[in-house]
Symmetry: C2
Subunit: 113 residues, 2 copies
DNA sequence: TTTATATTTGGCAATAATACCAAATATAAA
DNA sequence: TTTATATTTGGTATTATTGCCAAATATAAA
């Protein structure tokens, strides 16, 4: 078991494992936007949001370009949306129908690794 | 934006955001096993592994049953494997071909929510 | 230039996560 | 029973994360 790879993967999950960052990712899933909009969205300090974005950037799931004074952030990894949908399912049935909601039919199209 | 739901989702990601826990999840993806096997796998103290398992249990992605003295843990959410595959892709191309590896063709089979 | 806007960085206090040890619990074997 | 095995819980020190403020930077507007 390659611990370097496991660690890199875990870092990506960790990046998504914060409410503000997840909210940001879900917002960016609807389209790119500037930091100022994300500040409004999560209701935290500008600097806080900026640091959250740096975390997401570090693990490679968002990216940005400058547009004048604004930094435009965008989602770099659309497949994350699938994750989030699946996680939704986990939440919506956390004690019954364990393996149903996003199981077999999703799995069979996997095929990597 | 419902912060309760966002928070619940983030907790699931957070649970996966630790190397030992992710290794455990990947191992369980291959089949159920007892805590003792997982202890060997991650090379940490029994109590540490037990607590990691509690975290995974809390967010609802693993479950267990007792078999004699042993506790048999198993993955409750197979769709996580998809996530992990996608994350693999993120890692393997973290600076080129941004939206390719697990993009459109994966997305189009989504359909939940 | 000077000033304003948008954003990032550095610093730091508060909080949370991690990992170990020791002790508790629960089952099985002797 | 007593003892051994498998596991969880409680306690705690160490380390990491978070979020704010203040200061720095970078672009645009006046």
């Amino acid at each position: 078991m390659d611990m370097d790879i496991i660690e890199a993967k875990a870092n990506i999950f960790k990046a998504l494992g914060h409410p503000s960052r997840l909210a940001i990712v879900e917002k960016l899933a609807e389209g790119e936007c500037c930091v100022c909009e994300l500040v409004e969205l999560v209701g935290a300090d500008f600097s806080t949001v900026s640091k959250h974005l740096a975390v997401l950037k570090d693990v490679g799931i968002v990216d940005f370009t400058r547009d004048g004074q604004k930094m435009i952030y965008r989602l770099k990894v659309p497949c994350l949306l699938r994750f989030i949908d699946c996680i939704d399912n986990v939440i919506n049935r956390n004690d019954s129908n364990e393996t149903r909601a996003c199981g077999a039919e999703t799995l069979q199209t996997a095929g990597s690794k």
